[in-house]
Amino acid sequence: MSNRATPDAATQVEIYRRMALIKANDERSRKVIMSGRLVMPYYSPRGQEVIPSAMSVNLTDDDYICTIYRGSHDQLAKGLPLKDLWAEVAGRVDGTCKGKGGPMHVTYPTKGIMVTTGIVGASMPIANGLAWGSQLRGDGRVTVAYFGDGASNIGAFHEALNLAAVWKLPVIFVCQNNEWGEHTHYDKTSNVKVADRAAAYGMAGERVDGNDPFAMYAAASEAVARARAGEGPTLIEAMTYRFFGHVFGDADNYMDKARKAEAMANDPVPRFRAKLIETGLATEAQLAEMEAGIEKEIDEAVEFALASDFPGVEEMKRDVFAEEMA
């Protein structure tokens, strides 16, 4: 690993900032739902903070992502403003999608967040199209398709990875292997590592520790460089763990208690935080201030969202087509 790309000091702190933001936002989301102030299907990304954080520091606002229902971490890491997110998940008119999309369909082209889908596998074929567009324009942009381990067994994965490889598209397939697809463990659904499938398309691919910011950064930056250089797609299988049940409210009785406790004891967020202090890249006080700032921003976003209006029913006739419905 020693000759692989390493994030510089500022980048490490920035990765942590995104991780801290995701973690804080997740904690607040669960709290607000628990309090009854908000009703939404909520897919916690807790435990998976490193992946999009270390990925996105290699991207600019011009690069695209397609993500999935469990996507708030991917969106926040890519720069989605908290107010727009909260207003959306609260179903308000000030949300990214005027409240019409909801948590599973957050879209924010300003930051390259092009599609959030609720259909397993669907982020990948669409990501190809964005990448094809970049290839046609020669604009050097990169598209990242996020998806889960469970999605690696669906037909769309196969078709998308093959097309990307054959067309040498500037796209990166980032599988967040959190071991679970709803209630089913990955081992029960496949005999191989997800990354092993890259070879089936003649595509670069590797399995990395998705909870290690350095490993994830290296894989991400190399994949981005490959894509920008016109050398084609990459499949990254980022190993991680889902701290909670599939969706908020799921008691997760099917999850092995010891494995879960171990994963939580290895929580990547405090781990990386400690490392930054240990290596002198930040002080406890600096990070505490950063975290306090994040909390404040979230406070504001939640209040903004809950004070925002619901869309009127006339919105049901808008955006079905360009022209308004009768």
Binding site: V39, G99, I119, G155, K188
Partner: protein, 335 residues
């Protein structure tokens, strides 16, 4: 306390009705098998627990959790059915039938015909759907009209625990593919419990309330909106007949046409968007069969023609509600 326990024992919800039907069928016939995502007990018997207990009782070889591979799920069900099994396959949500349409429409529905009757596909495809849980545009569509437009597959949608049990038993008995639509938000509504072995014939509607001024034709969760509408209409002096269609394909023309022939007015209520929905077929047939005999135009009440919105007030406004049914009936009777 005892009396109360008894009353309780006679109650069940729809989820339990489906579970009991599959369990009873599996007990009676080794050829009944089940598959789908998260279906077995280590995976908690499905995301809502509809199949809970089945794999523990009948073995994980007969009740199998699958990878997220809907084409493979339906394909496996079809193949096993060709050699005498009776698979009950789950496509978790109805919107996910979109990734398995080839298997369902080009294969399950057609193999009997294309093989000249040499093979047939006695599978049940369970799938849940419905607005009400804020799941947005890709998780709650009612797509029954697609399948009803396909020769070779039947479509049912129960609205009570008894019907859920009875239709599931009939669907498993049936020698042809049956799409079994479950309404997610009403899974837990308690009602009279089904008796073991109960059958609801496929293709037979259920007259839930007799009336003389207007016929309301509905199914699935729309029954829960229609029942209070009937009560409110009664207060307003309007006698409404309520028909639970139960089977959308082949639907019970006989019962529906006879009822509307009597009342002269019809309202069809479904959650699917109105244009090109199941209501269009029913309206077209009623108009043809009862030409010149209707007292008012057939009214269709369906979902607003848009993807299902997330925002709560919009989601609520999407599907027909009790008040809409009442208003429609009053307008028809006045017209």
């Amino acid at each position: 306390m005892n009396a109360q326990t008894n009353v309780k024992a006679a109650k069940a919800n729809i989820l339990q009705g489906i579970n009991a039907a599959i369990a009873d069928a599996m007990e009676e016939d080794d050829n009944v098998i089940a598959l789908g995502e998260d279906l077995a007990d280590p995976e908690e018997g499905g995301v809502c627990g509809v199949t809970k207990g089945l794999s523990s009782r009948f073995g994980e070889h007969r009740v199998r959790s699958t990878p997220i591979s809907e084409q493979a799920i339906i394909g496996a069900a079809i193949g096993a059915s060709l050699i005498g099994f009776k698979p009950v396959a789950e496509i978790m949500l109805m919107n996910f039938t979109t990734v398995a349409m080839d298997m369902i429409v080009n294969h399950a529905a057609k193999l009997r015909f294309m093989s000249g009757g040499q093979t047939h596909v006695p599978i049940v495809i369970r799938t849940m759907t419905g607005t009400g849980f804020a799941s947005g545009g890709q998780h709650c569509d009612y797509l029954e009209a697609w399948f009803a437009h396909t020769a070779g597959i039947k479509v049912v949608a129960p609205s009570s625990p008894k019907d859920a049990y009875g239709l599931m038993r009939s669907a498993i008995d049936d020698p042809d593919p049956v799409l079994f639509i479950e309404n997610l938000p009403t899974y837990w509504s308690p009602d009279e419990a089904p008796e073991k072995g109960h059958r609801v014939p496929i293709g037979k509607a259920n007259v839930l309330n007799e009336g003389s001024d207007v016929t309301i034709i509905a199914y699935a969760r729309m029954i829960q909106e229609a029942v209070p509408a009937v009560a409110r209409l009664k207060e307003a002096g309007i006698s409404a007949e309520l028909i639970d269609l139960r089977t959308i394909a082949p639907w019970d023309k006989d019962t529906v046409v006879k009822s509307v022939a009597r009342t002269g007015r019809a309202i069809i209520v479904h959650e699917a968007v109105t244009p090109f929905g199941a209501g269009a077929e029913i309206a077209a047939v009623l108009n043809e069969e009862l030409f010149g005999k209707l007292r008012a135009p057939v009214k269709r009440l369906g979902g607003v023609f848009c993807p299902v919105p997330f925002s709560k007030p919009l989601e609520t406004a999407f599907a027909p509600q009790t008040a809409d049914i009442v208003a429609a009936a009053e307008a028809l009777v006045k017209s």
